[in-house]
């Protein structure tokens, strides 16, 4: 076992496919469709007016199947990923993505299902969405979720829209949303998109919002607060109940950015903290792959009084709950075997449909129900863990983060802004320690790459100087964490500036010139 995973390797270079083209070559099999070539009128103008017809075909590459396979395989080898390296990107919860979930989401009929199939034929699919909703409600203590939002930011937007609509209907024109200065950039951006003015509140010294400070901002203009808990320092907002009380007394809502929900999964309910709305990033807490930037799912959950505002469509169930799932399967099986509809409905207790009858709905967020392929992976993840293991997720995530906090706190002495007490699922350091060795946060990030680690989130939150934000997740071992800590230690005490400015050196490309990229932008080949 080498000291660090990053040692050496070979990188295979690769041209854009457009430069590997040979005229007339293609890499796809054209379906025969049972057509006889002679039977087809050849020219498109036999079907549509010639003035619409495109004369120059788009200049796509002209390459064979093996060329495409080698090309993208080589490209893939230039990425670091969760499956190959420790990827402690703070606030992103880069946990292991279980392989069985990939296999389930790739089941032939599920992935080929058109979203507008008649509902009687897809009862078990609707049941998955329905049941997963119930699980999320129990884990958060909220009343109902909608899976319409496609990612975290869309979840925030839908939640804020709900708040906006609530006040519009009440005839109150509350224009402001309070947002801590340490919040994710999406929070103020979503507030503006939803028609609010975000108002920044300063975080207190201990990394927490202070209820006393909050009170200064309270007025009838305040529609709500967007609070990340644990916040982006990984610190639990100790005043959360007090904050919620102040907001509620003012008739305002408490929206929780659930990007960091991994700290609570199976351990604590946000309803006990006074939260009214939360978005859950299924691609973070619920193990679905991040896909190199997406897709995700940002399910939005609300308290009872806001249920009627949720986006549409949603899965509506009638009749009693069907716990073992047999009804859903029976209805669908019988329907497909062409028996009478009414009989089906009568013999089974539960029937699921896609409904739009939410009285005050904010409307649609997406063309169809949800990012189903993400939802099904997340649901499979929960079923795998079961109630016996679910609480260990947040427990081990918090243990691992505190282990890093403690060990690095010693190595980067004086760099932990919140030395007192425990963090939750992630910890944050400033650049004081590494600066003593002349190393900047950016250089630390690039140096870590050569050791074989993906860098942590850097320069966020903004109010920590040269922030280094580390989220190990529950799926990493002490051994890996020790290895990472050792690398940081070497950088802190041994690495020379001359090496730091040249790093990374073991990657496909060296330090990327982002100034040039922005000065003379090239968007396409």
């Amino acid at each position: 076992m080498p000291k660090f995973p990053g040692i050496k390797g070979i990188f295979l270079d690769e041209d854009p496919l457009i430069r590997q083209s040979s005229k007339g070559v293609k890499g796809i099999s054209i379906p025969g469709c049972g057509l006889k070539k002679s039977g087809l009128k050849k020219d498109e103008s036999a079907y549509i007016n010639a003035k619409y017809i495109r004369k120059n075909s788009p200049k796509l590459p002209e390459v064979s199947e093996p060329t495409v396979v080698r090309h993208f395989t080589r490209l893939s080898s230039w990425n670091m990923c969760v499956d190959s390296v420790f990827y402690p990107l703070g606030s992103c919860t880069m946990k292991y993505n279980p392989k069985i979930n990939e296999k389930i989401a790739s089941l032939e009929n599920i992935k080929n299902l058109h979203p507008l199939m008649p509902v009687f034929s897809i009862q078990p699919v609707l049941k998955i969405v329905h049941d997963f909703n119930k699980v999320l409600c129990e884990f958060t203590g909220l009343a109902e979720f909608s899976f319409a939002p496609q990612a975290g930011a869309a979840g925030e937007f839908s939640g804020l829209k709900i708040i906006k609509k609530y006040f519009d209907l009440k005839g109150e024109h509350r224009k402001m949303i309070l947002v801590p200065d340490s919040s994710h950039g999406t929070n103020p951006a979503s507030s503006v998109l939803a028609g609010f003015t975000p108002v920044e509140i300063k975080t207190g010294k201990a990394g927490m919002l202070d209820a006393g400070e909050l009170e200064k901002f309270i007025s009838k203009d305040i529609a709500g607060i967007m609070i990340t808990n644990p916040n982006t320092f990984g610190v639990f907002e100790k005043d959360i109940k007090k904050i919620a009380e102040i907001m509620h007394q003012n008739g305002s809502f408490v929206y929780m950015d659930g990007a960091n929900f991994n700290a609570f999964l199976g351990s604590a309910k946000v309803s006990d903290m006074g939260i009214d709305l939360i978005q859950l990033n299924l691609h973070k807490t619920f193990s679905t792959p991040h896909g190199g930037g997406g897709p995700g799912s940002g399910a939005i959950g609300v308290v009872e009084s806001l249920r009627d505002f949720l986006p549409v469509p949603y899965v509506k169930s009638s009749g009693e709950d069907d716990n073992n799932g047999n009804d859903a399967i029976t209805i669908t099986a019988m329907a497909i075997n062409n028996s009478n509809d009414n009989k089906n409905k009568n013999c089974c207790r539960t029937f699921y449909e896609l409904a739009e009858d939410k009285k005050y709905t904010i409307g649609r967020m997406a063309p169809f129900l949800c990012n189903f392929a993400v939802v099904i992976r997340a649901y499979a993840y929960l079923l795998s863990l079961g109630r016996d293991n679910i609480g260990s997720v947040s427990e081990i995530a918090v243990l691992n983060a505190n282990y890093i906090k403690k060990k690095l706190g010693v190595i980067l002495s004086g760099s932990d802004p919140f030395e007192e007490g425990f963090c939750m699922h992630e910890c944050v350091f400033n650049d004081k320690g590494i600066e003593e060795n002349g190393i900047s946060t950016l250089e630390l990030a690039k140096l870590l790459i050569d050791y074989g680690f993906h860098p942590p989130t850097v320069y966020f939150p903004k109010n920590i100087h040269g922030a280094i934000m580390i989220e190990p997740t529950e799926t990493e071992s002490i051994r890996t964490l020790d290895n990472f800590i050792k690398a940081v230690k070497e950088i802190r005490f041994k690495t020379k500036k001359s090496k730091a400015i040249k790093s990374p050196q073991r990657t496909k490309v060296g330090r990327v010139n982002e100034v040039l990229a922005n000065k003379q932008p090239v968007f396409r080949y």
Binding site: Y47, P61, A153, G292, G293, N513
Partner: protein, 488 residues
């Protein structure tokens, strides 16, 4: 504490961690952090069962999968924003590489060149297909993308949201836009001062009515954008050549601007509406002229047809493109080509000062996570298609849809809704039949026979689509069963 297989730390490791941190157990640890917030009692959880072993879990979903009437059990002739295209095995094989699907957004370009390069190729190939200057690295889906396009047109019109709240402004939306897309636009801008007005379709052709568009643009209100879909929701190919000069009235000398003479800023580009084109089926641009050909300012639509499964409606692939002079107002990530410190080609996200993680409240959009993996799928798919395959498959769509429509018409059971040209989707009306069957009922009955016959769009109207996945034998099966359902 169990040793579940996703956790690397053993029970001993966990004990060690507690020892090092100086706390006894979870109760004490969480107590010190979250105070009096109660801990969940796992054994009391009602909605979750005990852990399922991998075999049982797979069987559970396999059972569901075996019941659902998709793939080999149902011939899909429904589109309506998502189309049943063939997905080559190469895509699943390549995309199952962890290096593509397990990283996140390429914040560190040196260790993300694979994703960045693939996205750059995605941007390049889709820009070619759309005939547009710049395509971004993806949005969520066509509907959200179009809503963002409308917001961008509002920004480009020089009016920020506060101003628009007071002064108003108008977005003209063709009746030929997918109704779900219109709903999403309303969710985004419904409570601003900007109003939405609908431009009607010509009752005969099903194309956006040019005269209605013209009169609405000239009616006096400030029109910020005019939005059309190509081909439109009913499958009809729009005559963008006719519509464009009506929208870009200042740029065309043959247009009489007399009506606008009272406006000081008539020569200002900003007083002219932005021409926004959408599409749910950009495969059409393998056969028909793309939006860029007709001088579209912004394109926003759905790219799921390129190498992605239907997945019961998501995730999808939002395409977003614009003329390059508007790039700084675009939402979403954009990959650019640059150099590294040794002057080698390298790729990175560019113009990120538009984005929320830098600009916060002043960002062009709140989007962060997008549909990156779907975009990489599209890049692989379009590479496989290559220049000739893309055109060939597009052409096959066109022909099969026409064969299906001809057969349905000659069967005497349907009549056309519109006479305009179409690509791979068209709308029909069920003729009065002896069983008095409505469109909804027809689709339900056909589904029982293993055919998703389309989407009901009115009492008797159906939207039907054919793709390269629609074999001649399935087309014949459709026609035979339709006769049986309506007349047996």
């Amino acid at each position: 504490m169990n040793n579940f297989r996703y956790f690397q730390n053993s029970k001993r490791d966990i004990s060690k961690l507690y020892r090092i941190l100086g706390v006894k157990d979870k109760k004490e640890l969480f107590g010190k952090i979250i105070g009096d917030i109660p801990l969940i009692k796992e054994s009391r959880l009602q909605t979750l069962t005990e852990e399922m072993d991998e075999g049982a879990l797979y069987s559970f979903f396999l059972n569901i999968d075996s019941i659902i009437p998709a793939k080999n059990k149902t011939a899909v002739f429904a589109g309506g924003g998502i189309y049943n295209h063939f997905v080559p095995a190469v895509i699943d094989s390549l995309i199952s590489r962890s290096e593509f699907y397990t990283p996140y957004t390429p914040y560190q370009p040196e260790v993300s060149q694979g994703t960045l390069f693939a996205l750059f190729e995605f941007q390049s190939m889709t820009a070619e297909i759309l005939g547009m200057d710049v395509v971004n690295a993806s949005m969520y889906d066509g509907a959200e993308s179009l809503a963002e396009a409308v917001l961008m047109a509002m920004r480009l019109s020089g009016a920020n949201r506060d101003v628009l709240d007071h002064s108003g402004g108008l977005i003209l939306i063709s009746e030929g836009i997918n109704p779900n897309y219109v709903s999403v636009i309303k969710t985004f801008i419904g409570d601003t001062g900007v109003k939405i007005d609908t431009v009607k379709l010509d009752g005969k052709t099903g194309q956006t009515d040019a005269a209605d568009l013209k009169s609405k643009i000239e009616s006096g209100g400030r029109v910020l954008a005019a939005v059309v879909q190509q081909p439109n929701y009913f499958g009809v190919i729009e005559d963008l050549e006719e519509l464009e000069p009506i929208i870009h009235y200042n740029s065309h000398s043959d247009f009489s601007a007399s009506h606008f003479s009272d406006q000081d800023n008539r020569n200002n580009r900003n007083s002219e509406p932005f021409f926004v084109v959408s599409s749910t089926e950009p495969y059409a641009f393998g056969v028909i002229n793309p939006p860029g050909f007709y001088n579209a300012d912004i394109f926003a639509g759905e790219g799921n047809s390129f190498g992605n499964y239907m997945n019961f409606g998501g995730p999808l692939l939002g395409l977003f493109a614009a003329k390059k002079e508007y790039v700084r107002q675009m939402p979403g990530r954009i990959v650019g080509k640059t150099k590294d410190d040794k002057n080698r080609d390298a790729y990175a996200f560019i113009l990120s000062t538009r984005e929320q993680h830098i600009r916060r409240g002043a960002a062009t959009s709140n989007i962060c996570t997008n549909s990156s993996l779907n975009a990489v799928r599209a890049a692989i798919y379009l590479s496989l298609c290559s220049k000739s395959g893309f055109k060939e498959i597009a052409s096959l769509n066109l022909k099969l849809a026409h064969i299906l429509r001809d057969k349905l018409l000659s069967g005497g059971i349907f009549e056309p809704s519109y006479l305009g040209d179409f690509f791979n989707e068209f709308s029909m009306k069920i003729k009065k039949n002896k069983n008095n069957i409505t469109a909804v009922k027809f689709i339900e009955e056909m589904a029982k026979k293993g055919i998703l016959a389309g989407i009901a769009i009115s009492e008797s109207g159906i939207l039907i689509s054919a793709t390269e996945n629609s074999s001649l034998s399935n087309i014949e099966k459709y026609v035979e069963n339709a006769k049986e359902v309506l007349y047996a």
